[in-house]
Protein backbone atom coordinates (compact mmCIF):
# COMPACT_ATOMS: atom_id res chain seq x y z
CA UNK A 1 0.00 0.00 0.00
CA UNK A 2 2.84 2.33 0.97
CA UNK A 3 4.65 1.58 -2.31
CA UNK A 4 1.54 2.53 -4.35
CA UNK A 5 1.04 5.67 -2.29
CA UNK A 6 4.68 6.68 -2.80
CA UNK A 7 4.36 5.98 -6.52
CA UNK A 8 1.34 8.27 -6.80
CA UNK A 9 2.62 11.10 -4.59
CA UNK A 10 6.23 10.82 -5.84
CA UNK A 11 7.38 12.05 -2.42
CA UNK A 12 5.57 15.36 -2.84
CA UNK A 13 6.41 15.91 -6.53
CA UNK A 14 3.49 13.84 -7.91
CA UNK A 15 1.53 16.84 -9.17
CA UNK A 16 4.46 18.10 -11.30
CA UNK A 17 5.56 14.67 -12.55
CA UNK A 18 2.11 13.33 -13.43
CA UNK A 19 1.03 16.63 -14.95
CA UNK A 20 4.15 16.68 -17.17
CA UNK A 21 3.65 13.11 -18.37
CA UNK A 22 -0.11 13.68 -18.86
CA UNK A 23 0.39 16.85 -20.92
CA UNK A 24 2.94 15.06 -23.13
CA UNK A 25 0.68 12.03 -23.55
CA UNK A 26 -2.48 14.03 -24.30
CA UNK A 27 -0.72 16.43 -26.71
CA UNK A 28 0.96 13.58 -28.61
CA UNK A 29 -2.29 11.59 -28.76
CA UNK A 30 -4.19 14.65 -30.04
CA UNK A 31 -1.60 15.34 -32.77
CA UNK A 32 -1.59 11.64 -33.76
CA UNK A 33 -5.38 11.49 -34.04
CA UNK A 34 -5.57 14.77 -36.00
CA UNK A 35 -2.81 13.64 -38.40
CA UNK A 36 -4.51 10.26 -38.90
CA UNK A 37 -7.88 11.94 -39.53
CA UNK A 38 -6.35 14.28 -42.14
CA UNK A 39 -4.63 11.35 -43.87
CA UNK A 40 -7.89 9.36 -44.00
CA UNK A 41 -9.73 12.44 -45.30
CA UNK A 42 -7.28 12.88 -48.19
CA UNK A 43 -7.37 9.13 -48.96
CA UNK A 44 -11.17 9.27 -49.10
CA UNK A 45 -11.13 12.39 -51.28
CA UNK A 46 -8.62 10.73 -53.61
CA UNK A 47 -10.80 7.62 -53.87
CA UNK A 48 -13.94 9.70 -54.49
CA UNK A 49 -12.21 11.49 -57.36
CA UNK A 50 -10.97 8.15 -58.70
CA UNK A 51 -14.50 6.70 -58.57
CA UNK A 52 -15.85 9.79 -60.33
CA UNK A 53 -13.70 9.09 -63.39
CA UNK A 54 -15.16 7.08 -66.27
CA UNK A 55 -14.00 3.47 -66.64
CA UNK A 56 -11.34 4.24 -69.23
CA UNK A 57 -9.85 7.15 -67.25
CA UNK A 58 -10.00 5.15 -64.05
CA UNK A 59 -8.21 2.15 -65.55
CA UNK A 60 -5.58 4.45 -67.04
CA UNK A 61 -5.07 6.19 -63.69
CA UNK A 62 -4.74 2.85 -61.88
CA UNK A 63 -2.43 1.47 -64.56
CA UNK A 64 -0.10 4.46 -64.40
CA UNK A 65 -0.10 5.04 -60.66
CA UNK A 66 1.01 2.42 -58.14
CA UNK A 67 0.08 4.93 -55.45
CA UNK A 68 -3.54 4.96 -56.66
CA UNK A 69 -3.50 1.13 -56.60
CA UNK A 70 -2.05 1.16 -53.10
CA UNK A 71 -4.64 3.64 -51.76
CA UNK A 72 -7.41 1.59 -53.33
CA UNK A 73 -5.98 -1.62 -51.85
CA UNK A 74 -5.50 -0.23 -48.31
CA UNK A 75 -8.92 1.43 -48.26
CA UNK A 76 -10.66 -1.76 -49.34
CA UNK A 77 -8.76 -3.62 -46.59
CA UNK A 78 -9.82 -1.15 -43.89
CA UNK A 79 -13.40 -0.60 -45.08
Amino acid sequence: MNIISNFITMNGYGLYVWLSFSIVFISCAAVYLKTKKTLKKYEQEFLSELQALNVEEKNKALENSKIAQQILATSSKTS
Partner: protein, 235 residues
Protein backbone atom coordinates in the same frame (compact mmCIF):
# COMPACT_ATOMS: atom_id res chain seq x y z
CA UNK B 1 19.59 4.64 -57.60
CA UNK B 2 17.46 7.74 -58.36
CA UNK B 3 14.58 5.48 -59.47
CA UNK B 4 14.41 4.21 -55.90
CA UNK B 5 13.56 7.73 -54.69
CA UNK B 6 10.51 8.02 -56.96
CA UNK B 7 7.22 9.10 -55.32
CA UNK B 8 5.81 5.59 -55.82
CA UNK B 9 8.70 3.81 -54.09
CA UNK B 10 8.76 6.38 -51.29
CA UNK B 11 5.00 5.95 -50.82
CA UNK B 12 5.30 2.15 -50.60
CA UNK B 13 8.24 2.46 -48.20
CA UNK B 14 6.29 4.91 -46.01
CA UNK B 15 3.38 2.46 -45.85
CA UNK B 16 5.71 -0.32 -44.63
CA UNK B 17 7.52 1.97 -42.15
CA UNK B 18 4.25 3.17 -40.58
CA UNK B 19 3.21 -0.46 -40.11
CA UNK B 20 6.59 -1.33 -38.57
CA UNK B 21 6.58 1.62 -36.12
CA UNK B 22 2.99 0.88 -35.11
CA UNK B 23 3.96 -2.71 -34.34
CA UNK B 24 6.85 -1.89 -31.99
CA UNK B 25 5.84 1.50 -30.57
CA UNK B 26 3.69 0.45 -27.61
CA UNK B 27 6.18 -2.14 -26.39
CA UNK B 28 9.00 0.44 -26.32
CA UNK B 29 6.65 3.03 -24.75
CA UNK B 30 5.77 0.64 -21.90
CA UNK B 31 9.48 -0.17 -21.34
CA UNK B 32 10.36 3.54 -21.39
CA UNK B 33 7.59 4.53 -18.95
CA UNK B 34 8.46 1.66 -16.60
CA UNK B 35 12.07 2.84 -16.43
CA UNK B 36 11.17 6.54 -16.23
CA UNK B 37 8.46 6.29 -13.58
CA UNK B 38 9.38 3.18 -11.57
CA UNK B 39 12.87 1.76 -12.01
CA UNK B 40 15.06 4.86 -12.32
CA UNK B 41 16.28 6.27 -8.98
CA UNK B 42 15.27 9.69 -7.60
CA UNK B 43 17.91 12.42 -7.73
CA UNK B 44 19.84 13.12 -4.51
CA UNK B 45 18.91 16.84 -4.74
CA UNK B 46 15.73 17.05 -6.81
CA UNK B 47 14.08 13.86 -5.57
CA UNK B 48 11.36 12.42 -7.83
CA UNK B 49 10.97 15.75 -9.69
CA UNK B 50 13.94 14.58 -11.80
CA UNK B 51 11.57 12.16 -13.60
CA UNK B 52 10.27 15.15 -15.59
CA UNK B 53 13.68 15.04 -17.31
CA UNK B 54 12.58 11.88 -19.19
CA UNK B 55 9.97 13.85 -21.13
CA UNK B 56 11.54 17.32 -21.02
CA UNK B 57 15.00 16.53 -22.43
CA UNK B 58 13.92 14.36 -25.42
CA UNK B 59 11.29 17.00 -26.29
CA UNK B 60 13.88 19.77 -26.30
CA UNK B 61 16.37 17.69 -28.35
CA UNK B 62 13.77 16.81 -30.98
CA UNK B 63 12.52 20.42 -31.11
CA UNK B 64 16.08 21.56 -31.85
CA UNK B 65 16.84 18.68 -34.24
CA UNK B 66 13.71 19.38 -36.32
CA UNK B 67 14.68 23.02 -36.81
CA UNK B 68 18.25 22.01 -37.72
CA UNK B 69 16.91 19.63 -40.39
CA UNK B 70 14.49 22.29 -41.66
CA UNK B 71 17.34 24.83 -41.96
CA UNK B 72 19.61 22.35 -43.75
CA UNK B 73 16.91 21.31 -46.24
CA UNK B 74 15.82 24.95 -46.74
CA UNK B 75 19.35 25.92 -47.75
CA UNK B 76 19.55 22.93 -50.13
CA UNK B 77 16.12 23.73 -51.55
CA UNK B 78 17.07 27.38 -51.99
CA UNK B 79 20.16 26.38 -54.00
CA UNK B 80 19.09 23.23 -55.86
CA UNK B 81 15.28 23.77 -56.02
CA UNK B 82 14.42 20.22 -54.95
CA UNK B 83 10.66 20.30 -54.46
CA UNK B 84 10.63 17.21 -52.26
CA UNK B 85 12.45 19.13 -49.51
CA UNK B 86 9.58 21.62 -49.44
CA UNK B 87 7.14 18.81 -48.57
CA UNK B 88 9.55 17.27 -46.06
CA UNK B 89 9.95 20.62 -44.26
CA UNK B 90 6.19 21.18 -44.31
CA UNK B 91 5.76 17.79 -42.63
CA UNK B 92 8.54 18.27 -40.04
CA UNK B 93 7.62 21.78 -38.82
CA UNK B 94 4.47 20.83 -36.81
CA UNK B 95 6.46 18.05 -35.07
CA UNK B 96 9.17 20.56 -34.12
CA UNK B 97 6.56 22.98 -32.81
CA UNK B 98 4.87 20.27 -30.75
CA UNK B 99 8.11 19.17 -29.08
CA UNK B 100 9.40 22.70 -28.51
CA UNK B 101 6.08 23.56 -26.83
CA UNK B 102 6.29 20.38 -24.73
CA UNK B 103 9.87 21.21 -23.72
CA UNK B 104 8.77 24.67 -22.54
CA UNK B 105 5.70 23.40 -20.65
CA UNK B 106 7.46 20.46 -18.98
CA UNK B 107 10.44 22.72 -18.25
CA UNK B 108 8.09 25.11 -16.49
CA UNK B 109 6.60 22.23 -14.49
CA UNK B 110 10.13 21.12 -13.56
CA UNK B 111 11.19 24.68 -12.73
CA UNK B 112 8.52 25.28 -10.09
CA UNK B 113 9.65 22.57 -7.60
CA UNK B 114 13.39 22.99 -8.30
CA UNK B 115 13.84 26.77 -8.85
CA UNK B 116 10.69 27.97 -7.10
CA UNK B 117 9.33 29.67 -10.24
CA UNK B 118 7.35 28.62 -13.33
CA UNK B 119 9.17 30.99 -15.65
CA UNK B 120 12.19 33.29 -15.78
CA UNK B 121 13.32 35.48 -18.66
CA UNK B 122 16.78 33.92 -18.66
CA UNK B 123 18.80 33.07 -21.78
CA UNK B 124 17.87 29.38 -22.18
CA UNK B 125 14.15 29.78 -21.58
CA UNK B 126 13.84 32.92 -23.70
CA UNK B 127 15.79 31.42 -26.61
CA UNK B 128 13.54 28.31 -26.50
CA UNK B 129 10.51 30.59 -26.60
CA UNK B 130 12.07 32.36 -29.61
CA UNK B 131 12.46 28.95 -31.31
CA UNK B 132 8.77 28.26 -30.75
CA UNK B 133 7.90 31.64 -32.32
CA UNK B 134 10.06 30.81 -35.36
CA UNK B 135 8.14 27.53 -35.73
CA UNK B 136 4.81 29.41 -35.49
CA UNK B 137 5.85 31.94 -38.18
CA UNK B 138 7.14 29.08 -40.33
CA UNK B 139 3.88 27.10 -40.15
CA UNK B 140 1.72 30.22 -40.56
CA UNK B 141 3.52 30.94 -43.85
CA UNK B 142 2.25 27.60 -45.22
CA UNK B 143 -1.25 28.23 -43.88
CA UNK B 144 -1.66 31.85 -45.00
CA UNK B 145 0.04 31.95 -48.41
CA UNK B 146 -0.89 30.15 -51.62
CA UNK B 147 2.03 31.00 -53.90
CA UNK B 148 4.50 28.10 -53.60
CA UNK B 149 7.52 30.10 -54.83
CA UNK B 150 6.83 32.84 -52.29
CA UNK B 151 6.30 30.25 -49.52
CA UNK B 152 9.69 28.64 -50.28
CA UNK B 153 11.41 32.05 -50.17
CA UNK B 154 9.78 33.18 -46.91
CA UNK B 155 10.13 29.84 -45.11
CA UNK B 156 13.80 29.61 -46.17
CA UNK B 157 14.44 33.10 -44.75
CA UNK B 158 12.65 32.18 -41.48
CA UNK B 159 14.66 28.95 -41.25
CA UNK B 160 18.01 30.63 -41.93
CA UNK B 161 17.34 33.54 -39.54
CA UNK B 162 15.95 31.09 -36.95
CA UNK B 163 19.05 28.91 -37.20
CA UNK B 164 21.08 31.73 -35.59
CA UNK B 165 19.06 30.96 -32.46
CA UNK B 166 20.18 27.30 -32.37
CA UNK B 167 23.76 27.85 -31.08
CA UNK B 168 22.36 30.50 -28.72
CA UNK B 169 20.06 27.84 -27.20
CA UNK B 170 22.91 25.32 -27.00
CA UNK B 171 25.50 27.63 -25.42
CA UNK B 172 23.16 29.95 -23.46
CA UNK B 173 23.91 28.06 -20.24
CA UNK B 174 27.66 28.64 -20.76
CA UNK B 175 27.61 32.21 -22.13
CA UNK B 176 25.25 33.67 -19.52
CA UNK B 177 24.35 33.06 -15.90
CA UNK B 178 21.05 31.20 -16.07
CA UNK B 179 18.72 29.28 -13.80
CA UNK B 180 18.98 26.36 -16.21
CA UNK B 181 21.65 23.79 -15.37
CA UNK B 182 24.56 23.20 -17.81
CA UNK B 183 24.41 20.19 -20.16
CA UNK B 184 24.78 16.88 -18.30
CA UNK B 185 25.18 14.84 -21.49
CA UNK B 186 28.02 15.62 -23.86
CA UNK B 187 28.74 13.99 -27.20
CA UNK B 188 32.43 14.81 -26.79
CA UNK B 189 33.77 14.47 -23.28
CA UNK B 190 32.38 12.70 -20.24
CA UNK B 191 28.72 13.04 -19.23
CA UNK B 192 27.86 13.84 -15.62
CA UNK B 193 24.62 11.82 -15.61
CA UNK B 194 24.58 8.39 -13.94
CA UNK B 195 23.99 5.37 -16.17
CA UNK B 196 20.85 4.45 -14.17
CA UNK B 197 19.32 7.71 -15.38
CA UNK B 198 20.99 7.79 -18.79
CA UNK B 199 19.51 4.46 -19.87
CA UNK B 200 15.81 5.45 -19.24
CA UNK B 201 16.52 8.79 -20.90
CA UNK B 202 17.80 7.04 -24.04
CA UNK B 203 14.77 4.68 -24.11
CA UNK B 204 12.41 7.66 -23.79
CA UNK B 205 14.36 9.44 -26.53
CA UNK B 206 13.80 6.38 -28.74
CA UNK B 207 10.06 6.48 -27.93
CA UNK B 208 9.86 10.16 -28.86
CA UNK B 209 11.90 9.62 -32.04
CA UNK B 210 9.63 6.78 -33.14
CA UNK B 211 6.58 8.95 -32.46
CA UNK B 212 8.12 11.87 -34.40
CA UNK B 213 8.96 9.52 -37.30
CA UNK B 214 5.39 8.15 -37.30
CA UNK B 215 3.82 11.62 -37.44
CA UNK B 216 6.32 12.71 -40.11
CA UNK B 217 5.56 9.68 -42.29
CA UNK B 218 1.80 10.18 -41.95
CA UNK B 219 2.08 13.88 -42.82
CA UNK B 220 4.41 13.18 -45.73
CA UNK B 221 2.06 10.48 -47.01
CA UNK B 222 -0.78 13.02 -46.85
CA UNK B 223 1.30 15.43 -48.96
CA UNK B 224 1.97 12.74 -51.60
CA UNK B 225 -1.76 11.91 -51.80
CA UNK B 226 -2.59 15.64 -52.04
CA UNK B 227 -0.25 15.99 -55.06
CA UNK B 228 -1.52 12.78 -56.67
CA UNK B 229 -5.10 13.98 -56.15
CA UNK B 230 -4.31 17.18 -58.07
CA UNK B 231 -2.81 15.17 -60.94
CA UNK B 232 -5.28 12.29 -61.00
CA UNK B 233 -6.69 13.08 -64.45
CA UNK B 234 -3.24 13.62 -65.93
CA UNK B 235 -2.13 10.06 -65.07
Amino acid sequence: MFKFFSATNIYLLIHKLIKFINSIFFLILVIGLTFALVLSPPDYLQGDAVRIMYVHVPSAWIGLACFSVITFLSVLNFIFKIKNFYFINKSIAPIGLLFTWLAIVTGSLWGQPTWGTWWAWDARLTSMLALMLFYIFYILTFKLLNNEVLIIKITSIIAIVGSINLPIIKYSVEWWTTLHQPASIKITGSSSIHSEMLMPLMVMLLVFLLYAALIFLMKYKTEIIRIKKKNIKRN
